[in-house]
């Protein structure tokens, strides 16, 4: 909301220290988002008369203009075309500094020396209403050499752009802001005194009817005769402009000014356009269509997602039934004030805030009026607003008179909240040391009334503060009001402590370990999108039915990820494109599972923790590593996995090749293994990316082979020590006797996994086995195509003795026998 300092200063002597005022407004919760200065920097600008206009040879965009500045003739080169000889225009002479710091200097353009600048409104920091120069012929007192700003009566002003918070309905008006500011600064507030006396209103009559008393708490209909539609006084126009509203005519401007000043929207109708001479507020019929002032056809009374049933949409109709507008939001065109209007029907209403909010949201239509109604207007300000409206209209239209046919109808309004607080409890809660008088000093200038009874303070909120809830919640609202008005910055601070220790959960600690291990593996952490663009979905696919965003920012970016592969491939591709050869990445994050893919879908809970029927997607925490450096392949991923396994102290998991129906999306069908625990829990996959996918992703890899290593782990499962057990905590004793090692090389059919053979050897050597290590894999030579040689080093030791040759021989023999039982043979 834009408020000018000159306007505020008319209500109380706030002064001109803009920085201090801004700071005070901020501290009151009236956040100053911006400060504009208008009418400054115009001191040097004068009025000049155009005496001669001539073309400059070879230039069709500028002309040479000779002006009289009150003392002599000046030559100016000017690009505007909207003026002629004899016109009075603003002249910024050489040396003038215009708003925005632009300094006028002598310049040569097209061979002609220009001795100043003729100005458009925008160049002077004024409302930019028309193209070209300001033409000042019609301004009284404008003569060559006269001060421009004096001629126009422009006074330098400051405009505060204030953000009004949702719980400050009182501050949606200049008077409200001034009241709050004056109270803080200890200044007396002087509001305009009403000249108009209202006739005694009737509680019924043909001119007004409420058919939805629950949503229209009050309705005042007044009629004004003798209206002559014309322009408003300049000061009203200027105020509206400064507040960002366009001046229209004296009736509409008066309505708008009342809204800005007092926060009460009013709606003037041309009485001749109101069929039957009266209006009705009623609920819209389901599917009722009307065209609003902005020319848009709008349908009311229908249910819309998230905005309710639509049955609280309100319309204003003429007594005869024809629809005039959407109540509290926007009128229709038929009854608009026109130049020919002679009688006005003024509607002043109090509408239910939520009803207006819902309709406004449903229609996607927010106006100055709806913004105020949906925050909650003051239902008791209607009479004062009417008086002010009549006073303002009369300024430009003395013939206007208020008809005695004034109707004010009462619907349902809630009473202002009455709150009882204990001063001691309040001081404890806020950390303040205020007595009753101190609290009253804060609240009473803001129209709260206070009564003290010992420690109990009874407070009646003003009708302008619908945000203050009744007891018991209202206590918190009142605490806030007291804290706010006392000033948050002035409040005491204390430092609470408690006996419970802080810290991270097992899974949170695990996350940190995982990140550290991944970084140690040379991988850098990335953050890829949770909402995938279609091109990535098309590239790498998603698991199961897509989880789609109903209202995506852009239609080609609407699918929740089911894995991290697509996003990470894209990151790899981009970095490789930038000639990075060291692309090794990891990401730890959430992926989503469609409920259709879950055996037991996650059910939402509602109030009180009870289950509802709303089904939610599953969420899994995933760790993925991608290795795209030169030489990286499935084996890199295997070593990464082994490092993770060892660093986390896991009981070894089993790595088995995946069969076709187990293969995860995007993985290499013959170079991928699954990782399962002894209990059969599937922890993840290790291997390579499908070469077809690498080709499709446009990744250009260094080296001959298109290989990218890939490791994908379910972190939630990893955190579950029941499913993925850890090695025992107890330390294993180290043998003090020398250990002995021997190597065994076997020729093994390809179909027997190295890990299978290794497991058999471990079992055969169990007891004395200290470690086993595959150290050579050999293919070719004398060996057949379907076999290879695998060489292991076994290290044995005993905690009790030095192992003898016989002991070693026994183990060796057992190992060979175990290998042979798998179809392997000892290699010579």
């Amino acid at each position: 909301m834009k408020i000018s300092l000159s306007w505020l200063n008319e209500l109380a002597p706030f002064g001109d220290d803009v920085a201090a005022l801004t700071d005070t407004l901020d501290d009151l919760g009236l956040l100053v988002e911006g400060i504009e200065r208008s009418g400054e920097g115009l001191e040097a600008v004068i009025v000049a008369r155009v005496d001669k206009i001539s073309a400059i040879e070879g230039a069709d965009r500028v002309r040479e203009v000779s002006v009289f500045d009150g003392e002599g003739q000046l030559t100016i080169v000017c690009g505007a075309m909207n003026f002629s000889v004899g016109d009075l225009v603003p002249l910024a002479p050489v040396g003038a500094v215009l708003p925005g710091g632009f300094e006028i200097t002598k310049r040569k353009m097209r061979g002609v020396e220009s001795n100043g600048m003729l100005c458009a409104a925008g160049e002077l920091g004024l409302e930019d209403s028309a193209d070209g120069l300001m033409v000042l012929n019609s301004i009284d007192g404008a003569s060559p050499g006269a001060s421009f700003s004096q001629s126009l009566g422009i006074i330098p002003d400051v405009i505060f752009d204030i953000t009004v918070e949702g719980n400050r309905p009182d501050a949606w008006s200049v008077h409200g802001v001034a009241r709050d500011l004056a109270a803080r600064m200890g200044l007396a507030l002087t509001l305009p005194i009403a000249q108009t006396q209202l006739p005694t209103p009737k509680a019924d009559g043909a001119s007004a009817k409420i058919e939805a008393a629950d949503l229209c708490g009050r309705l005042c209909v007044a009629k004004l005769e003798g209206i002559v539609v014309g322009p408003s006084p300049t000061w009203i126009q200027r105020r509206l402009s400064a507040s960002g509203m366009r001046p229209i005519n004296n009736v509409v401007d008066a309505s708008n000014l009342v809204m800005l000043e007092m926060g009460q929207p009013t709606h003037p109708y041309d009485l001749a356009g109101v069929d039957g001479g009266g209006i009705v507020v009623r609920r819209a019929k389901a599917g009722e269509v009307l065209t609003t002032l902005d020319g848009v056809s709008r349908t009311l009374g229908l249910a819309r997602p998230g905005v309710g049933t639509g049955e609280d949409d309100l319309v204003i109709t003429a007594a005869s039934g024809s629809v005039l507008g959407v109540a509290g939001i926007m009128g229709g065109a038929s009854s608009e004030i026109a130049a020919s209007s002679t009688s006005v029907l003024l509607e002043l209403a109090y509408f239910d805030a939520m009803a207006i909010a819902k309709t406004s949201k449903a229609l996607g239509l927010r106006t100055e009026a709806s913004a105020r109604f949906e925050r909650g207007c003051d239902p008791r300000i209607i009479e004062a607003a009417l008086c002010r409206f009549v006073d303002l209209v009369k300024l430009s239209c003395p013939s206007a008179s208020l008809s005695s046919d004034l109707v004010i109808l009462e619907g349902e309004t809630s009473e202002p909240a009455k709150i009882e607080i204990s001063l001691a409890a309040m001081n404890r809660f806020l950390g303040t040391q205020l007595d009753a008088a101190g609290v009253a000093t804060l609240l009473e200038p803001r129209l709260f009334s206070c009564q003290v009874d010992g420690d109990t303070l009874s407070v009646l909120a003003p009708s302008s503060r619908s945000d203050i809830r009744p007891m018991p919640f209202g206590v918190a609202d009142l605490y806030e009001e007291i804290a706010r008005t006392a000033g948050y910055r002035a409040m005491a601070r204390s430092y609470p402590s408690w006996s419970e220790p802080g810290g991270l959960s097992i899974q949170q600690q695990l996350r940190r370990s995982l990140r550290e291990i991944c970084v140690g593996l040379g991988c850098s952490e990335v953050w890829t999108p949770s909402i995938l663009p279609d091109k990535l979905v098309d590239l790498a696919g998603i698991v199961g039915p897509a989880l789609k965003i109903a209202n995506p920012l852009s239609s080609d970016e609407s699918t929740l990820r089911t894995g991290m592969l697509a996003g990470m491939l894209q990151v790899a591709q981009r970095n490789l494109e930038r000639q990075r050869s060291d692309v090794a990445l990891f990401e730890l994050g959430t992926v989503f599972v469609h409920p259709a893919n879950m055996s037991e879908p996650r059910l939402a809970r509602t109030a009180g923790g009870s289950a509802s029927n709303t089904v939610l997607p599953g969420e899994q925490e995933r760790l993925s590593l991608l290795f795209a450096r030169e030489g990286d392949d499935a084996k890199t991923a295997v070593v990464a996995w082994r490092t993770l396994e060892a660093s986390l102290g896991l009981e070894p998991l089993v790595m088995t090749p995946v069969v076709a129906e187990e293969l995860p999306l995007g993985c290499h069908p013959t170079r991928c293994a699954k990782l399962t625990s002894a209990s059969g829990a599937l922890l993840g996959f290790v291997g390579e990316i499908d070469p077809a996918l690498i080709d499709a992703s446009g990744i250009a890899l260094v080296g001959e082979r298109r290989r990218i290593g890939w490791l994908d782990i379910h972190v939630d499962l990893l955190a579950d020590v029941g499913q993925i057990p850890r090695r025992p905590l107890e330390a294993k004793p180290i043998s003090r006797f020398p250990s002995a090692a021997f190597d065994l090389a076997f020729v093994v059919p390809n179909k027997v996994l190295a890990s299978t053979l290794e497991a058999a050897l471990v079992q055969a050597a169990a007891g004395p086995l200290e470690s086993i290590r595959l150290f050579d894999v050999f293919r070719g030579g004398q060996l057949g195509d379907d076999e290879r040689s695998l060489a292991f080093e076994l290290r044995l030791s005993s905690i009790e003795k030095t192992l003898s040759d016989a002991d070693l021989g026994e183990v060796r023999a057992a190992c060979i026998a175990a290998a042979e039982s798998l179809g392997a043979s000892l290699r010579n």
Partner: protein, 301 residues
């Protein structure tokens, strides 16, 4: 059971891949591909660790996760535990339980992504970490385990077009204290403790009245401008202060929604952007650098 779930996932995935591959490769003979893949077959257990190129240098943590850890550490040292919560929420947890009824004008503060799942506009991507507060309080009520002293970091989503200061997906950390006799002064003191602990001893905090439906009194909290250290610069519009986040005393309506007796318990909550914190600390002109994942950026941290 989890196995069955995964099995189904994998099966569906395989089907999709087969289809995708056949489309992408423009009908490359399935046979040729099968042969090629078979020739490429690898027994992963043949991997010899010492033959795989060792990583000679460490990788780099993402700035956001580093910042998150650093923030968690400060709060843990202050006695907070750390809580997680789901990224997909219902309207109840994200809004209604937080005293934001449907169509409430305050909903305009959070542009929301809704999922195309179930009834329209019931399932959404959380717009803030505050729903975790509701989960924590509900759980504590059920387990009779109040008080709560927790921070809740996590990823949130808002339907905002990304720009230099906003991302549609971003990270927040939120704190919640529910205990006996917790006061507004405790809130201000806790925020000051955190501010000096995290940003340094010459960076302080102050509160300014604000409005959030789930807290009353509510405040924005500002810290000494980390660029000019309070002297006044363009970043802080010459005020010496920059806005960090929101905070306030838990609104009694929120306590009522989760079944906590606000005569016995009081509490406060505060929250701010982790990404924003990182942006301020490292003077990153455009926040979108955080999601570009350019290694030249990532490896600076």
């Amino acid at each position: 059971e989890q196995k069955r779930e995964l099995g189904a996932l994998i099966h569906a995935a395989q089907e999709q891949l087969t289809e995708a591959v056949s489309v992408r490769r423009g009908g490359l003979e399935a046979k040729a591909r099968a042969q090629e893949l078979e020739a490429d077959r690898l027994d992963l257990s043949e991997t010899i660790d010492s033959q795989v190129r060792p990583a000679l240098s460490r990788g780099h943590r993402h700035l956001v996760s580093q910042t998150r850890d650093a923030l968690e550490d400060v709060f843990c040292a202050m006695g907070f535990s750390v809580a997680d919560g789901p990224e997909v929420e219902t309207d109840w947890y994200n809004f209604e339980a937080l005293n934001i009824p449907p169509a409430h004008p305050a909903r305009g503060m959070w542009d929301t992504f809704y999922l195309d799942l179930g009834e329209a506009e019931t399932v959404l991507l959380r717009t803030h970490t505050s729903p975790v507060q509701i989960h924590l309080m509900e759980e504590a009520v059920q387990a009779n385990s109040l008080p709560i002293h927790a921070v809740m970091p996590g990823r949130c989503f808002r339907r905002d077009t990304p720009d230099a200061r906003h991302l549609a997906a971003f990270h927040q950390i939120e704190g919640l204290v529910v205990d006996r006799d917790i006061t507004f002064a405790d809130l201000a003191g806790t925020i000051e403790t955190f501010t000096t602990a995290y940003f340094g001893p010459d960076i302080h905090s102050r509160l300014r009245p604000a409005y959030f439906p789930f807290t009353e009194p509510s405040a924005e909290y500002e810290i000494t401008c980390t660029l000019c250290r309070g002297a006044g610069c363009r970043t802080c519009s010459m005020t010496g202060w920059i806005e960090l986040g929101g905070c306030g005393m838990i609104d009694p309506a929120v306590f009522e929604a989760v079944g906590i007796d606000s005569r016995e318990w009081s509490g406060f909550a505060f929250g701010f952007g982790i990404d924003r914190c990182a942006q301020m600390r490292h003077q990153i002109p455009d926040m979108r650098a955080l999601i570009e994942n350019d290694l030249r950026f990532v490896e600076q941290f």
